[in-house]
Amino acid sequence: MPGMAKPPPLTPLNHRLADPIPIPPPKPFQSRLRHPSSRKTIYDRNLSRTQTTPTSLPAFAYLFHALITHHHSQSGSVSDIETRLNRAGYPLGIKLLDLLLYRQQTATQRPATRPTRIVELLQFIHTTLWRALWGRTADALEQSTTKRNEYMIVDNEPVVNTYISIPREMSQLNCAAFVAGIVEGMCDAAGFGMEGVTAHWASAQGEAKGEGQEVEEMWPGKTIFLLRLSEEAVGREEAIKANGG
């Protein structure tokens, strides 16, 4: 009828009066998994299996040798190969942290405790990780006197270097960079950001660094793992210490 106002246009305010859009029901779950013929999946394997039956060293050495050869063919420089080996070991560290905590829990029947302080984490690496990987603890754990965020783990004879011989032109290369990657992954997973973990030869190997010649000759393959913590990890450690934690 003339004179009457048109109905108000549909604004966002009176959209509320319209029917709400229904949320569609979730689709049923469809599995695209292919099963092996024995119907056993990875979830059926025992987590403590490798604890009781160690793997063979020659098998690992063969695989490690193939890994190094592959990386050497892709890039030439020493630091590049070390970085690649480091990256190769990184995911292992993340998984090993959880696995070792779980094994600690089943072994002692007490709930496992996460390492929340730097010293605990380093002790965990020094004893539990080394023992799980090679059946013995690392040889020394030191804190650098010059820098606050540097720690060192010393291994007199890394097992991974057993069958690796380095040519003289690449004498700087230490294939324990793979183990350094494992350590870096473990520290990162525990929440302590790392600037980097690197593996260095302790003895001369072509450089002049006099420090007790008898010791060096006894352990020519002595390796030092240098762990450099990030600023925020050190800051957090200080804050916990200040709070009396």
Partner: protein, 188 residues
């Protein structure tokens, strides 16, 4: 009694989510959340992550117990060594939970409200399901949730030991899902 398990990775990204209900005391194992819960559950769980980070550096335990409550929802958290959080949101009476300040829609399924009350009001046998719904903050509840979390932790370990699993990858294995469901049936 409905549950929502959410596994959150180190970048605060959800890796796995599952809703299920209690199988004790005649429950059928199906979650009875309202439609808003589809997004509100995730919202509540992620809001509780702040509290996890507060407690994380103070306590050395893996199981952090109940860390948050909102209206009728209680959130329990288990922290793995690799900083992955298993958050369990439990709601003893999901139909009565109104998420917003003013209730906009009435309870959408009034028929199942009786089912929810039944599990709380069973008098004869005091099974864990009845006690869980009746008293969500008791010690018995914590023990049940702790046992459930340990089972999920074992299954999670087997999942990450897969050499093809990279960190912070979404978990899509149906075997993992069925294992978590079985653990939920057993303990919750």
């Amino acid at each position: 009694m409905s549950y929502h398990l959410s596994i959150i990775g180190t970048l605060d990204n959800p890796l796995f989510e599952l809703s299920f209900g209690s199988s004790k005391q005649g429950g059928d194992g199906v979650a009875k959340f309202r439609p808003e819960a589809l997004y509100m559950n995730q919202f509540l769980v992620h809001a509780a992550l702040d509290l996890v980070e507060e407690v994380q550096w103070v306590s050395k335990d893996l199981y952090l117990k109940r860390i948050d409550s909102h209206q009728n929802n209680h959130i329990h958290c288990f922290l793995t060594g690799g900083n992955v959080k298993f958050m369990l949101l439990m709601n003893p009476d999901p139909q009565a939970t109104t998420y917003s300040a003013y209730p906009t829609t009435p309870a959408s399924r009034p028929g199942t409200q009786a089912g929810g009350r039944q599990s709380g009001g069973a008098t004869g046998t005091t099974g864990a399901g009845g006690m869980l719904a009746a008293n969500p903050t008791s010690q018995g509840t914590e023990e049940a949730v702790r046992a459930f979390m340990n089972e999920v932790y074992e299954t999670w370990l087997k999942c990450i030991m897969n050499p093809f699993y990279t960190a912070n990858q979404v978990v899509t294995s149906p075997v993992f899902r069925s294992r978590v469901l079985a653990a939920g049936r057993k303990y919750l």
